[in-house]
Structures are given as C-alpha cells and as structure tokens.
Subunit: 491 residues, 2 copies
C-alpha cells in the first residue's frame, strides 16, 4: 500500500510526532531548543563539574523550575524544554568536566549521543520483528561481532557461535549470568552456589537474592583480586553446582582477577566461570593491553558495559556467551509477539533475547561508535586513559602531601592526603574532603576502602582531561585537607 | 574551584564529547546529520509503514549497510551516522505511520524525543547523588506527582505517601510488584502465590519464574476480564500469602478487569492487589474516562507505562505504591555509592530506587511532556484515541465483509475478514493476511485470540491517524482476504 502519510493537519492542536515523514522537521526546532538549554544550563554552573550548595540547594532549584509537575493546561513544548533541560544541565554532575571523575560514569561521545537521538525518534521495540525490522537485524549483527571479540582467543570448540544479549548495564548482565547458571542446573533441582570475592560488584549478591539463590560465598581478596588458594579451598569444600564470579576491572581499584588461574580452578572443580568485565572489557581493543584479559575467552559468560570505558550514554550493557544455544533458558512465548505459526513462517523470534519485553535499540549508538572510531580509535582512547592514570599515579607518588594506594591497572587511581609531617589522616577526614568538594561544586571524587583505610577515588574516563586539570585537582585536595585539619584543631 | 574546562585542543584527534561547555556545539552538526538521515531513510520506505520484502530482505539491507561492524580504522562520525541511521529509518516499523497500528508501540511525541536527547547528552546516572544531583531531585518530584494521580481517589489512610519507581517498562514494573510481595512475606518463609487471569500479560508469569515463586494460578477470563466467581473460588481454596494481578487494559483487547470487585475480594481474602495498568493508566488524565479506573487506588502496587498511551520513547515505565515505606525491601548498600556516613551527612541514597545500578533519567522526557501538554492536553489525546477506536469499531460493524469482535474499551479494536457469503474464514487465513501485509510493507497489524478464534488487532496510539487512513486499511484487508481465499481455491 503506497498511501503516503498525510502531513499534520494545518492548524491542528495535536502535538507533532517524532516519526513519520514529517518527524525530522518537527524535531529540528525542538532539538535546537534543547541544545540551547544544555548550553545555558552548563554556563550557569560557571565552569564547575556540579552545582555548588549540595543536595538541598539543588533540590530547591529543581522544585522551583519544575513545579507544577502536571499543570492543568500545558505550557507548550518550547517552554517545557527550556525550563527543564536548563535546570537539569545547571544541576548536573557533568562527566564531560575534567574534575568530575569519581565513578564509572562516562562522558559520552557526541557521536554516540547523536545516534541515540535516532533510537528515541524511531522508537523501535525489540520484542518483535514487526516493531523493529532493521533494528533487530542490526542488533543480531553487532552483538555477534562483539561476542566474537570477547571469544577471539577461545580454544577450539569452546566458542562455536559467540553471541551476546543487550542489557541495561553490568548489573543486569550479572543477573542474567546467574540466571543462566541457575537454569542450566534447574533439572537437577539444586540452586547454584555463587562464589565471589569480597571485591566483587554488589550486583552479584543482589542478583542471587533476586533469583532466590543461596547467598554467595565470599572469598578474600586481600590484594584487591581473588585469593587463589582461598578460592581453591572454597571450590573443594562446597557441594552442588557452582558458579565463580570473577572481575576484570573492580569498581574500587580497577584490578583484574587472575583469569587464567581462575579458569583452571573452575575447570578442575567443574564450576561455571563468569567474568564481570563491565569496566575492563574494552582493553580488548588495545593491542598493547589486550593481554591483561588473557583467560577471558574461557568464561561461560562475560559482562560488558560500554557506558563505562566505551563512552556510550546509558544504557549499553551486554552479556556475552560462547554459544547462542546457551541462551535457550530465556526462550519465552507470548502469542501476540511470537506465535508458533509466525515463527515457522519466518518472522524472527526476539522475545528470548531479553527479560524485558519492550526494549529500545541501544545497539544503534554502539554500532555507530564502533564504525566511527574503529578498533584503532577505540584502542587509542583506552590506552590514552590508562596512560593518563599511570601519569596521575606517578604525580601522586611524588607529591609530598599525598599518598598513592597502588599503581593502577586500568584508569582508577586511589589516593589520600596526608597530615602535617606526613602523619596519616583519619578516614573521617578523607570522607569529609570528598563531601566538601561535592558541596562546593569543586570536584566529584569517589571513595573506596582498600587495605583497611578509606581513599579518594579518581576514575579517569574523560579523554580530554589534561595533566594540568589533574594537577589542579591534587592541589585542591591538599589545601582542603589542610583546611579541614586546621578547622578541627582547637586554636 | 572555578577552573573553566578548556576547549578541545585544536587539531586534536580525540573525538568530541556531548557534555561539558562545548558539548552542545559538538552535537549541533551531528544532530543535523541524524535528522537528515532519518528523513532520507523514511523517504526510502516510500510512504510505507515498514519496509517491503520481509525479514530476509531487511536483514540483507542492514548487513550491506552495517558491515564491517568494527573496522580497523574508523569511518568518522558523519559517515557512520549517515549510513546506520539511514538504514535504521529505511528499515523501521514506523509507529508514526498511520498504518503501523499493531502493538502498544507508540509514536513518540517530538517534544519527548527532544527531551530524551538531553538525557543522553547529560548522561546522569541515578545510582548516586553525585552522578545526578538535579536529575535525582526531578525524579523524586515527578514520581511522587504521578503516584499521587494513581492514588488520588484512595480512601483515607490507604495512601499516606504515594511514590513510584521508574522502570524499563511494564514488564519490570510487574516484576517489582511480585518482588515486593515476595519480600513482604519473606520472614514467614513461604513464597507468594500469584493469581492471574488467562488474559494477564505474559510478564507476570515470567516474573514469577525469575523470582523463584510458584507458577501463578490462572483464573478463567471468558469475557476478556477476570471471572469474579472463579477468582473467589481460587482465593478461597489457596493457602498462604496471595497476590492477585489484575489488568487495566489487556494487551489483546484493551479490556479492564472489574477493579472494585477484585479489590473487595482481595480485602476479604487478605490477598495483595496488584493492577497492571501499563496500557490503561493514562485514562486518569481524562475527566470523561477516569471512572473506568475506579478501584485502582485500592491497589498495593500499580504498573504504569508511558511508552504506550503516554507517547514517550522507550523506556518510560513506573511502579506506583501508596506509601514510600513499601519500597523498603529494595534498600541496598554499596559503600562506593551510599556509605552510611555519606547518607548521614545528607547525601540522598538512591540505590533502593531500582534493581538497576547505573540508570539514565527517563523521567526527564516524562516531566517535559507533562508540563508541555498539561492534564488537559494529555486527557484530550486519550479521549481522541478512544473516540477513534469507537468510530473504527462502528465502521467495521457496518462493513459487509468484516466482523468486529467487540466494542472497544480503550484503543484496541479486533476484527477479521469474512469469506464470500459471510462465511467464516479459517484462522490460518487471518494469520496469513497479517503476514502478507507485513511482507508487502503495507500495514503492521497485530493478532489476538479471543472467543476461540484468531483476530486481526489494531491498537490506535497515533493521534494523527484519520478515519480515511483506517478506511483504506479496512479496504486493503478485505481485498487481501479475497485474494488469499481465491488463491487457495483450486481453479
């Protein structure tokens, strides 16, 4: 049928759509309004990485800008976009600012954000082919390509047909990894016992709780990575189906577990081997550093998350498996989406690709970024940031008033100020330094406990950050620590 | 600290970011490229709601446009955006086209899509305050306002402090509803027994599986809604903690369960009362139709999903509860995100607002839409589409060669072509009509089984669709059915 969709009725009071033939023209002025409001909001922050004044001040600003939430009569698109987008930009913790460097909270690339606009405008939904014909094909292509990267070094037979599911992030990927393990042993009736380290991401324990699995057994990680002797002991002692959840890039320090040795232990004890590489997986793109992930290709499941060291706007998670057939436990039928006769007639069945039903194509921005930058471009960004972290660590090590925790593996650097005469400061002061920087709107630093003490955490994900930026940050931390120490000293 | 972020280094090979002071300028040309590619891709579809040729043809086009997925050297932002966005638009099932009317697959409003661009660009993450200062405040404000709408008619005491969680859609909302029920009874040890209808969304059963709950007990719904006598019997027979999952707007027919009577039965039997109002909740905005949701305010949990009858791009799900304290089972601690001393010092603790960790502010587009359209504007859209569905049903009822299933409640209309001389056609022909329309790229219609037969399903969500559009669709269905019947008759 070739009836063209008619243009919007002239004078119609119906608000314009993003799709259809006329969508792009409707979007143009509104998108211009958004970009203006993003710029004016960022300017209102006056060069700060986050607004000054702390939670109460920010909440008051938002309350003033955003009420009434549901007015009786609409304010119109222009007014609503200007007011709310300006308010969000003015009150953002901006990962594009060099001094917003706390978390695995990435500054997204402009190209990825632009691609994400297309995902919103087209609003394809990946729960059935007839809601996402091309997007479903693209997702199949890109997930297989990324899974092939993960399993590039697999031994013959281990990864016959690598595949990956798209998720909302590492948390959902870890959840799916545990679910696949649970279901692989569902017939034998026993729940899977998860074995983690004390450094493992909290989402693994939360996933076990969600799925009704026993609480994970936690193995020590005294040096920031899984202790192999303790893991061996645990796997020897425990009975029933086991899953070891290792980490390639911990949240606290960026450390990578000894994957080959863990893979050996899993093989010897018949345990499933999961690797949470939400942070570290993009090392695969770097010829200089891919070796840090040796052993990854032996995993049964691998968590990736390109909204960390992949510069994607949220969400861009993946769970890779060495063979498509391992995803069978997620197969699911809903007649309105994948009736048997439709599937037999050749309509792709998408419902087993997620626990979600409606699902936007987050794969589009990933695909655009991979193509725009290429393996070389991505690898160069990874190396640039890892090198920057090394340089920052060296600067801290040389700094007379700062202490470095350890040489970084990835892009996370832990440090803490020292007191006068190189005396250690209490953890409470370190925590207060962080909160004061936040309240002043001066810097966003994280926190991590390591070696029994609290540290400030810098996670470098912004490739535009310079050594001068970081030098200024270190000076600021030093001076603030002095101020806090003086303030607590009776005069 | 007022060090302004420096501009990108001139001649730098680093790709530009979306954030920071320079992000909006970096985005402008890329967004223009995206809008051009959306327009050219839609034009390539030649006025069709989806590409002609079926899954294989679409997959071949995508393969040609999108390989290599990860080139050794990058193609650059412009080339990557043009190639992939054009390909996605050309191969979309476009809910902005009047004849794409199968599923609860909404054509998003341009204003909501523009707002979503800001969410991607700012890339705030709602797992900690220092990744989303203003966005966290906005989410708190808007979720409470929407929950207050849901519980507007609550009896005194039932809804002291309405609140809502933001989800990826109705599926996750239903999952959370079951999880909250499970945890409310966790101390007594027994799993919750979910009671659903045969018309209940598949996600309820899937959630029970995910959470390790017993398989739901299914009550008949012969008229498309829960049979009250059968529900009473089930609640009388079953033992242990019970949860009844009712539906306000079924996926197949848009029917609304008798909520007041179900609420009475739940109260009498001490069962929790969940309402999946993913489709129907926006009736609350319509003074003419809000009464269809009488009884909703008695629920313990309510699923909303504004990427259906709320014209949001995916995702825009919510789960409303009558009191914030009911969300306590989701409380969760991860020291790097919500350490006790930070929480005591006044940093908001966000981790208990979701099972996800990293989480983009989907609330922004919702907030912008509520403000732009107001209650009156939203209610008018709801009424316009419900009225259109009534008119379509009347046109089908009068049509000599079409059969109407029933008068619609919401915006879903089921119908089927009849054979020569008003004879019923076999279900296989009805299914073939749908698949042929898909393969021709002529229309996207859904399917539903009701009253023992298969029907074509039209879900009206596009306010720009006219009676003429739908008239043309009916004619096309009639002629196609004739062709298929003739084709199957030996000559």
């Amino acid at each position: 049928m070739t009836t063209p969709p008619h243009p919007p009725t002239p004078g119609s009071s119906l608000p314009p759509l993003a799709g259809g033939t006329h969508g792009p023209d409707a979007l143009r002025p509104l998108v211009a309004t958004v970009l203006d409001a993003l710029a004016s909001g960022a300017a209102e922050r006056r060069g700060r990485p986050l607004p000054a004044g702390g939670p109460e001040a920010t909440a008051a600003h938002v309350l003033a800008a955003a009420t009434p939430v549901l007015p009786e009569h609409g304010a119109g698109a222009g007014e609503a976009l200007t007011a709310l987008v300006h308010s969000m930009a003015a009150g953002a913790a901006d990962p594009g600012h060099p001094l917003c460097a706390a978390h695995l909270h990435t500054p997204p690339l402009a190209v990825a954000v632009a691609a994400d606009l297309a995902a919103s405008a087209l609003n394809q939904s990946l729960d059935s082919w007839d809601q996402a014909p091309a997007a479903a094909a693209l997702e199949a292509l890109v997930t297989r390509a990324l899974a092939a990267e993960v399993y590039r070094a697999a031994t013959p037979g281990h990864a016959p047909s690598p595949d990956a599911l798209v998720t909302t992030g590492g948390t959902e990927s870890n959840q799916l990894a545990l679910l696949l393990a649970r279901e692989a042993h569902a017939r034998t009736g026993g729940g899977v016992q998860v074995v983690t380290g004390e450094h493992t991401h909290h989402s693994v324990t939360r996933a076990a709780w969600l799925l009704g699995l026993p609480e994970p057994v936690t193995v020590p990680a005294p040096g920031g990575t899984l202790d192999l002797a303790a893991l061996d002991d645990a796997l020897t002692t425990l009975r029933g189906p086991l899953l070891v959840a290792a980490t390639a890039g911990t949240t606290d320090t960026g450390a990578i577990d000894p994957l080959p040795a863990i893979a050996d232990l899993c093989a010897r004890h018949g345990a499933r081997f999961h690797v949470d590489a939400a942070y570290g997986a993009p090392l695969l793109f770097s010829p200089r550093r891919a070796h840090l992930l040796d052993g990854l290709a032996r995993a049964h499941t691998v968590t990736l998350d390109l909204h960390k060291l992949g510069w994607q706007p949220v969400a861009a998670g993946l769970l890779a498996v060495p063979d498509t057939t391992l995803l069978a436990p997620l197969e699911h039928t809903a007649d309105y989406l994948n009736a048997d006769d439709d599937t037999e007639a050749g309509l792709p069945d998408l419902l087993g690709r997620s626990l979600r039903t409606t699902r936007r194509p987050d794969i589009l921005k990933i695909a655009v970024t991979l193509r725009a930058l290429g393996r070389t471009g991505l690898g160069a960004l990874v190396d640039h940031l890892c090198d920057s972290a090394q340089e920052l660590a060296e600067a801290i090590a040389k700094h007379p008033r700062l202490e470095l925790y350890e040489t970084p593996t990835l892009t996370t650097v832990l440090f803490r100020p020292t007191g006068p005469g190189d005396t250690p400061l209490p953890d409470t002061t370190v925590a207060a330094v962080r909160r004061t920087l936040l309240t002043e709107g001066a810097a966003v630093l994280g926190r991590a406990r390591a070696g029994g003490r609290l540290w400030l955490k810098t996670t470098l994900l912004n490739p535009h950050t310079t050594p001068d930026d970081l030098g200024a940050l270190l000076t600021r931390v030093e001076r603030l620590a002095d101020t806090l120490v003086e303030g607590s000293t009776p005069r």
